[in-house]
């Protein structure tokens, strides 16, 4: 479906020589020298062209490699140097007719290999997917052979391989007849096919390990403590390639090249795919992707940026209101994307009012703002909005969703008190660190500390730890309950360490009230290992002795809200940013992990820094974001950014929450809604009870508050939503209500043009264009016998348009 012009353009790009864009200044080989230690040590060479514009282009596959002394070291055609014997030699790297010398020294190359199951065998099982969730890593294993998923449990895997099935899986006397090798090399039928061809390096590793008596290794053997992928980030042309190198750091402080054993995975195969061995290939289209490299439960990420092929020259001069604009534009320039124009006043008014107070501007408010001539009226508007009661309603709704104000779990009285506690915090603009601390450390009678209600809704220590991590840190730790988080560095120790903060916390009856009490020590037992884990924040070392008794959650709150906590301020910044810009810098906002990197890390850092500077003041953050030009861009795309949905080059269409949309329907028709058990005149964004039954709210995706996941609020459109707005009897009743706004408008004197203007200001917060006025007036006049129906039809049309149904 590509247009021909586009196809030809694409063809030209593909045919063009690699370094067409800029002149090559020099070519380098990385590293310039190598020292290898131990048997089977390897190191991969990377060859780069340096372009005049500073860009690096991978040339590794174009180079020829040869070793001057193959008795010391050999080198593969792909540039991987292998130690063979002790000594010194040089690897010659020939590219474009020039030779580059890499000095190689090796020691202990011929000492017998000392095997460690976890370090040598487990990576092979991971690398070939043997222990993946779709194969032997499944909870029930595969065809009688079960491994721990992603190799989180080496001792169990060792037992499975060496001891189970009467030991027939390995055969040290004649290693190549071991079942594990016969099967994986395809000598006998294997459901998973040939995985390890006989003679391959990894086959040899397994064979040699079995021949050595299949040792488990010593507890003192080094462990992998971190991995690093090189390079970290590259700009690639469409179809461009990049070889990666993965370096593992061991507990002894050594660095080992583990590229061949690392597992690679792209977060977007269309934009950049990756082969085993770490060769990344960009797709046809511009965009960004993250390629994860994992080894021994450690992960790192390589970022691929594929700019649009067409350069923008000269790049337009775009005014910068604050640091947000500088950092977004910096990125856009790199991607050859120009931002959209500034939104006009009406677009800005509607957008910012919906974003800050979840409410549509009235026609009077719209007129006042549009006719306001003050140059700083946009900033003044935000200041006014932040002081309105609807601000508190709207933001309380959002935190009530995440902190799960739940009438079913709490009963009406307590649910209302819990909601009111949240609302008071929003009204007083309580610094967000204090708000979080109050929830994390809530204690005592529920009647006195309403934040303690959280622990009546979320009752298990693991769920409490998981929920609060997700809400306040944006990190999901639930996967690590059973096994090492597959896409992050969290281990079960991290999970149980967090859980331990909440062990012994329970809501108990106290006279006529209930109270949240804390008992026992801050430890949680890992049911799989039986190991007792003492409370500690994730990512920090676990303490070896029991902490003092008493409430330990204050320590957790201290850690969370410390200015240098890597998650807390970023989480707040990212969540608020996502609400205003329609997409988080990390998306989804509550799934922060190494392998889900921010689209603009510098911007996220800067926003988090500003949050800390402003002492976690949410209103200040809103002022900063709304003041940026980036927030105020038009939603109208230009030729360079029509495909860009992740770099904030234009305003995105945001879905409007169910409650806000229902209020908009009520406000525009002048007919309020009645909710079961709630006082008359209550608006949907004021509903503290998410269980209030209401078809409109259900269909438009109101969350049930069953989890802390932002995803519970459904943002996808559905047929049922569309049909309800088109045909719903309740909607028509509002449009045709005698006492409603539409009927009044139809009856009003003063000319059809002014009627149409009022309709547009009511629904869209803007004045109609001349053409729109003509169309609408003609419709009313054509239907003059049924004027009121005609006005209803116009209102119905505006209500069903995309312009009404989205915040843009």
């Amino acid at each position: 479906m590509l247009t021909y012009r586009r196809r030809i353009a694409l063809l030209l790009i593909l045919l063009a020589p690699v370094a067409v864009s800029a002149q090559v200044v020099k070519t380098t080989v990385d590293p310039a020298s190598i020292s290898l230690r131990g048997p089977c040590a390897v190191y991969s060479l990377l060859v780069d062209d340096h372009a005049a514009d500073g860009r690096l282009v991978d040339r590794t596959r174009d180079a020829h490699f040869r070793s001057l002394d193959p008795k010391v070291a050999t080198v593969t055609p792909a540039g991987v140097v292998h130690a063979v014997g002790d000594g010194q030699t040089t690897v010659i790297v020939e590219i474009d007719g020039h030779d580059h010398n890499v000095a190689v020294s090796t020691v202990d190359a011929t000492t017998p290999r000392r095997f460690n199951f976890e370090n040598d065998v487990e990576p092979v099982l991971s690398r070939y997917g043997c222990n993946s969730a779709g194969c032997h890593g499944k909870a029930e294993g595969q065809n009688g052979f079960k491994l721990s998923v992603f190799g989180f449990d080496p001792s169990a895997d060792y037992a499975a391989l060496v001891k189970e099935a009467r030991g027939r899986r390995i055969f040290p006397a004649s290693p190549e007849y071991s079942l594990v090798l016969r099967k994986t090399s395809g000598h006998i039928a294997h459901g998973g096919g040939v995985r390890l061809p006989a003679g391959s390096d990894d086959y040899e590793t397994l064979r040699a390990w079995i021949a050595a008596g299949a040792p488990f290794g010593q507890p003192t053997d080094p462990k992998t403590t971190a991995v690093r992928v090189e390079p970290r980030e590259r700009l690639l042309t469409p179809r461009g390639k990049q070889q990666l190198r993965v370096i593992a750091r061991t507990s002894e402080g050594r660095e080992v090249d583990v590229t061949a054993l690392a597992k690679f995975q792209s977060n977007n195969d269309g934009l950049a795919s990756v082969q085993p061995g770490g060769l990344v290939t960009a797709g046809d289209a511009p965009g960004e992707a993250a390629v994860m490299a994992s080894f021994m439960n450690q992960v790192d990420v390589f970022r691929v940026v594929v700019p649009r092929a067409e350069h923008i020259d000269p790049y337009p001069v775009v005014p910068e209101n604050n640091f947000i604009d500088r950092l977004v534009l910096q990125k856009l320039r790199k991607l050859n994307i120009a931002p959209s124009d500034l939104a006009d006043d009406a677009e800005y008014l509607r957008r910012v009012t919906l974003d800050v107070i979840g409410t549509l501007p009235t026609p009077a408010e719209a007129r006042r703002f549009l006719d306001d001539r003050r140059p700083n009226k946009r900033a003044i508007l935000v200041d006014e909005l932040l002081e309105r009661p609807e601000y508190a309603d709207y933001w309380s709704l959002q935190w009530s969703d995440l902190l799960r104000v739940d009438r079913q779990a709490l009963g009406s009285k307590r649910a209302y008190a819990y909601y009111q506690w949240i609302r008071r915090s929003v009204v007083s603009n309580q610094p967000f660190d204090q708000f979080a601390r109050a929830v994390v450390t809530a204690e005592g009678p529920l009647g006195e500390d309403a934040a303690a209600d959280f622990y009546k809704v979320v009752t298990k220590p693991g769920d409490e730890a998981g929920t609060l991590s997700q809400v306040f840190l944006g990190v999901r730790i639930a996967c690590a309950e059973c096994h090492h988080h597959p896409f992050d560095r969290w281990s079960t120790a991290d999970y149980y360490g967090m859980t331990a903060y909440f062990s012994g916390i329970a809501v108990k009856p106290l006279g006529r009230d209930e109270t949240l009490c804390v008992e026992g020590i801050a430890a949680a037992k890992n049911p799989r290992t039986g190991e007792e884990v003492f409370a500690h924040p994730f990512g920090e070392p676990a303490p070896t002795t029991a902490p003092q008794t008493g409430d330990r959650r204050a320590a957790l709150a201290d850690w969370m809200t410390r200015p240098d906590n890597p998650y807390f301020a970023r989480n707040l910044a990212n969540r608020v940013w996502a609400r205003f810009l329609g997409r988080g810098l990390i998306e989804p906002v509550d799934d922060v992990r190494v392998t889900n990197p921010p689209s603009n890390p510098e911007l996220l850092d800067a926003l988090a820094h500003s949050v800390v500077e402003n002492k976690f003041d949410v209103k200040a953050l809103i002022r900063t974001i709304t003041a940026s030009r980036v927030y105020q861009l038009s939603s109208k795309p230009n030729a360079t950014n029509e495909c860009d949905e992740q770099n904030y080059s234009r305003a995105l269409f945001k879905r409007i929450e169910a409650e806000v949309l229902l209020d908009m329907v009520c406000q525009t028709t002048g007919v309020a809604e009645r909710f079961d058990g709630m006082p008359a005149g209550m608006r949907a964004i004021q509903l503290w009870d998410s269980k209030t039954s209401h078809y409109f709210l259900k269909v438009f995706g109101r969350p049930m508050r069953a989890s802390a996941c932002e995803c519970e609020r459904r943002r996808e459109p559905s047929s049922a939503q569309v049909l309800h707005l088109l045909n719903g009897p309740e909607i028509q009743a509002k449009l045709s209500r005698d006492a409603g706004y539409i009927a009044k408008l139809a009856k009003r004197e003063g000319g059809d043009e002014s009627l149409v203007e009022d309709l547009y200001l009511t629904f869209y917060s803007r004045r109609p264009t001349a053409e729109e006025t003509t169309t609408a007036v003609a419709y009313i006049r054509k239907e003059k016998d049924r004027r009121r129906e005609a006005v209803e039809d116009l209102a119905w049309t505006l209500m069903n348009s995309l312009e009404f149904g989205f915040n843009h």
């Binding site: 479906m1 195969d269 999901r476 639930a478 989890s707 459109p717 049909l723 088109l726 995309l802």
Partner: protein
């Protein structure tokens, strides 16, 4: 209208081919894509008949030891109160409270060695309705709670709509695991949230309010097309949710004005006699509605029928309430499909999320039992009158050739012509196959 605008990345591009822009309002595939897919399926020796699916989900867990797989020789605390009866297939016997089904047995196959390893509502539901067992973080209380797309969503996504009716419909409510997960809103079910046995049954919001007649509806529609400035704009093309709403709106007008759809959704147009035969209750009328929808072109109808969780008074509840309804509904459905010549092209699957414990509990009930139960299925290429596999003497586990939800998924996709090897991407970019290593159950075909 072929614009380069939307081909922004590999994934969006694939999505958009299916979503279509102004010219392609099918919710599924473009025509050439569909044709080539069918050609590929034909090459692989797969059936090319256009088969539809009615998935009757007996929510709570039908007791199959009391219906499809009786154990009259087992000790009394296992065999329960019911006796087997003969069917119209010699040698095949089923429970005595399904006498009408017994007379249609030649159209039905019983898969008696079915099993999975889970006996929890929620997780087992997800397993049966998607073919994937949920992983960590699964929250069954959400709706939808799908980690993987339901069968109907895969069908909607890969095969697309037939005519103006939606490809995938759920009734009389949406089971929480019948969502589309990462296949997105266009593969999500069209939910009829209403009881077809209610006297005033109508599909919610399908028809305009009474005050809006056809002329006025046309006028409104024309006005909407002229006045919605974003509908045809670059904004809608560059914002996929906006484009989707546009597509849904177009589909909605098609649905509202299509005589076929109108007829299909109007259960009152069905002959009274046949309505009585199906049974004037939610289950019976939902099955009838399912047939009408398939007849109008719907590819997959999932009927979610509750109350099969018979922990207490299993036998009384089954005998007095549930089985008479199931007997009428299921027997009439098979007969009705056959009478209309639709049986060859309509696959019917009736199952709960699991069976029930062979040992009767102290409350004369049976509890959850995933390790062995029976799935009943027929039509759409299934050879009726067969029993495939068997359970052990007390129906506690399969006695031979066990099969599970993956195999059921593989078989139903095979019959419908969905490519099993097709992969979709999760939001994390992980490719996931349509079927999780299932095998096609050849013995059924």
């Amino acid at each position: 209208m072929s614009r380069s605008a939307k081909f922004c990345d590999g994934l969006a591009r694939r999505d958009f081919l299916r979503l279509g822009t102004a010219s392609v309002f099918g919710l599924g595939l473009t025509l050439p894509e569909l044709l080539s897919r069918q050609a590929r399926a034909a090459e692989a020796g797969k059936p090319t008949k256009d088969v539809s699916l009615i998935f009757l989900f007996l929510h709570g867990g039908l007791s199959t030891i009391d219906t499809w797989d009786l154990k009259p020789d087992a000790p009394v605390e296992f065999r329960g109160d019911f006796r087997p009866i003969d069917t119209n297939v010699p040698g095949v016997r089923i429970g005595e409270h399904l006498p009408r089904v017994a007379r249609q047995m030649d159209k039905i196959a019983l898969l008696r060695s079915f099993r999975h390893h889970n006996s929890d509502h929620g997780a087992a539901d997800h397993y049966m309705l998607t073919g994937y067992f949920p992983t960590a973080g699964f929250n069954p209380t959400l709706s939808p709670n799908n980690q993987r797309p339901a069968h109907g969503a895969v069908v909607a996504r890969t095969l697309g709509a037939r005519g103006s009716v939606p490809p995938y419909v759920c009734l009389p409510k949406m089971h929480p695991s019948s969502g589309s997960a990462y296949l997105g809103p266009t593969a999500a079910p069209f939910v009829i949230d209403a009881d077809p046995s209610a006297p005033d049954f109508a599909v919610p919001d399908l028809a305009p309010p009474p005050v809006v007649d056809a002329t006025r509806l046309d006028a409104r529609k024309e006005l909407l097309v002229r006045m919605d400035r974003f509908q045809q704009s670059a904004e809608a093309r560059s914002n996929h949710n906006a484009a989707t709403v546009g597509v849904f709106q177009h589909k909605a007008f098609e649905l509202m004005t299509s005589p076929d759809a109108k007829k299909a959704f109007d259960i009152h147009a069905e002959a009274d006699g046949l309505r009585d035969e199906y049974g004037r209750n939610t289950l019976g009328q939902s099955c009838l509605m399912a047939r009408r929808l398939v007849q109008a072109g719907v590819r997959c109808v999932t009927v979610d029928h509750s109350n099969w969780d018979t922990h207490f008074g299993n036998f009384a509840t089954l005998k007095e309430q549930l089985l008479p309804k199931l007997d009428a509904a299921l027997s009439t459905l098979f007969r009705d499909l056959a009478d209309r010549g639709m049986l060859d092209t309509t696959l019917v699957i009736a199952t709960g999320e699991f069976g029930r414990t062979p040992r009767v509990n102290k409350d004369a009930g049976r509890d959850h039992w995933g390790p062995a139960f029976t799935v009943a299925l027929g039509g759409g290429g299934i050879k009726g009158g067969r029993v495939v596999g068997k359970s052990d003497a007390r129906a506690e586990k399969p006695a031979d050739d066990p099969c599970g939800p993956e195999d059921l998924a593989a078989t139903l996709y095979h019959l419908l012509g969905v490519d099993q090897e097709e992969e979709f991407y999760t939001p994390e970019g992980r490719p996931v196959k349509v079927v999780n290593n299932g095998r096609i159950l050849q013995a059924l075909l």
